[in-house]
């Protein structure tokens, strides 16, 4: 009895209750919408309708069903987001290292990191397109730009969080600069690094979808805007909505899993 109660009140179950609650709210609104609106599926369909559309064989394009369209485009978008994410991660880490090694670099680069964050991504897209002459490359670069800011600021904060006593100890042992970084600074900054990655992963996906909307050539964003303009079934939009929400959350969780594997001694926080 007690065990069952414990299970029902465990953290995972409570999250499940909340998700069920949210689904209930969605369904209530959807029921209201279904009665009051002329085309309820444009505003808010029932969740079962969306799920049914995943398995239906209705043709949305000339050759493909709704699900096939969504999956093939999701592959493209997520691939670009992943490549951009990895590039941004590497560049962001290197920049944080440089900022920590040379005070001048930090002074020059840090304010501009803030400003890069504030440039609307759709705005830079055409410029990067003009430079790279390839829409896919520019989509990857934009995902990289968005990844790189949270990674580098968090890693830098991680480097700075190292206690002075530990640094003093390293110096008193006449440690080389390389050793100070390898043995102290880099391990100490790992939790911060992963915090950065957790912020960056959903952002890379968002950026990738958003830049898709700007030009054709395939990708979730393209399909999303076409679907909203009623050029194809509206369920394409709803499937993309659910898929990207799930992928966004999964990407966040994935970073947590990787963190646990790489540094199991640390307890993962919220």
């Amino acid at each position: 009895m007690n065990k069952a109660k414990k299970l029902l009140l465990s953290k995972k179950m409570i999250i499940l209750y909340w998700v069920l609650g949210l689904i209930a709210v969605w369904e209530v609104i959807a029921s209201i919408v279904a009665v009051t609106k002329r085309s309820p599926e444009n505003v808010l369909p029932h969740i079962y309708q969306v799920i049914a559309s995943v398995f239906s064989n209705t043709m949305a394009g000339p050759t493909k069903t709704i699900t096939q369209i969504v999956i093939s485009n999701a592959g493209m978008t997520l691939w670009r987001a992943a490549v951009g994410f990895l590039i941004g991660m590497a560049v962001g880490y290197i920049l944080a290292l440089l900022m920590s090694l040379f005070k001048t670099v930090e002074k020059v680069a840090f304010p501009y990191l803030m400003i890069i964050q504030m440039i609307p991504i759709l705005g830079i897209a055409p410029i990067i397109l003009a430079i790279t002459k390839d829409i896919d490359a520019s989509r990857i670069i934009i995902a990289a730009i968005l990844t790189f800011y949270p990674v580098s600021t968090n890693v830098l904060a991680g480097f700075k969080s190292v206690q002075q006593e530990k640094l003093d100890l390293m110096f008193s042992l006449a440690a080389k600069r390389k050793d100070v970084y390898m043995k102290l600074m880099v391990p100490a900054s790992m939790p911060y690094f992963f915090t950065g990655l957790k912020i960056a992963a959903p952002m890379a996906i968002t950026a990738s979808i958003l830049v898709d909307t700007l030009q054709g050539g395939g990708g979730l964003g393209c399909m999303l805007s076409q679907s909203l303009k009623h050029a194809m079934s509206i369920y394409v939009f709803w499937q993309i909505a659910f898929l990207s929400a799930i992928v966004g959350i999964l990407s966040f969780c994935l970073m947590g899993v990787i963190e646990k594997i790489l540094s199991p001694q640390r307890k993962a926080k919220l």
Binding site: T104, Q117, L122, P202, S251
Partner: protein, 267 residues
């Protein structure tokens, strides 16, 4: 001697970025940058041209700035208050609340591109005035974004207390409300600013992104999109600059507020 050193430090703090910015601007203006990047004046307009456009169109730009600011700041305020309220509720009911916050954190991971059209459609019935209802939709999206970030950070601030401080207050026979007022609330204030450092620039960006999908054509973000679609890159850049300036000004206001409110707290 010491004050002099601090002054030198502050001067380089400002001077280095300014020099760097000036070099970039000069490279753009003299079109050396265009050669390096292999682009032309059409896609990457000269800085002087951007400034010219901004100064020529100030009244029109201000209309759009105002629309974006109402959405962003409105969403920021409502979202932050709601987020803090959520954090308080989660603190009062720790069992169910913490799980709820995990769900709120998940909301942060949902791409804004998807939330924006949903809210747009949902609010269609609210008013017959397209400008009003699209403003409500945009504000709601910004609210969701700010709420998630604020609730997580405020919850940490309300609960990551100095060790034994709750026990100490309890040994003084302090009630839960007194503990909240004297301990949790002051403890959470730095965490509020951590959240705001993310949400203040974020609210402008998410406001701008929402406008791409909004029904009513107004706002800095919409102007960027319209001008890019019609290949008016110089005008688009003018609006991009304006959006950056808005974000920077909001951030500076936040830093000043933080300095004033957290005076003497920082180590």
């Amino acid at each position: 001697m010491k004050t002099k050193k601090i002054n030198k430090n502050m001067v380089t703090n400002i001077l280095y970025p300014v020099i760097f910015g000036a070099i970039i601007l000069i490279l753009c203006q003299t079109q050396i940058m265009h050669k390096i990047l292999g682009t032309d004046v059409f896609t990457l307009p000269l800085p002087s041209r951007i400034i010219e456009i901004i100064s020529e169109n100030i009244p029109k730009i201000m209309v759009n700035v105002k629309a974006t600011l109402i959405v962003s700041v409105g969403g920021l305020i409502i979202g932050s208050l709601l987020g803090y309220l959520l954090a308080i509720i989660a603190t009062v009911f720790p069992k169910g609340g913490a799980g709820g916050l995990s769900v709120a954190a998940a909301f942060n991971a949902i791409p804004i591109v998807v939330i924006a059209p949903i809210f747009n459609n949902l609010t269609k019935g609210i008013s017959s005035d397209a400008s009003f209802r699209s403003m409500i939709a945009k504000t709601l999206v910004v609210t969701v974004f700010c709420m998630a970030s604020m609730s997580i950070n405020a919850y940490r601030g309300l609960n990551e207390l100095p060790p034994f401080s709750v026990d100490l207050l309890k040994s003084y026979a302090a009630g839960n409300f007194t503990i909240f007022k004297k301990l949790r609330l002051p403890n959470s204030i730095p965490y509020i600013f951590i959240a705001l450092r993310v949400t203040v620039p974020g609210c402008i960006i998410s406001g701008v992104v929402c406008e791409y999908f909004a029904e009513y054509v107004i706002g800095v973000g919409r102007q960027i999109r319209e001008n890019i679609v019609t290949a008016q890159y110089a005008t688009a850049w003018a609006y991009i600059t304006v959006a950056c300036i808005m974000g920077i000004i909001m951030y500076i206001i936040l830093l000043i507020a933080e300095n004033v409110l957290l005076k003497g707290r920082k180590s």
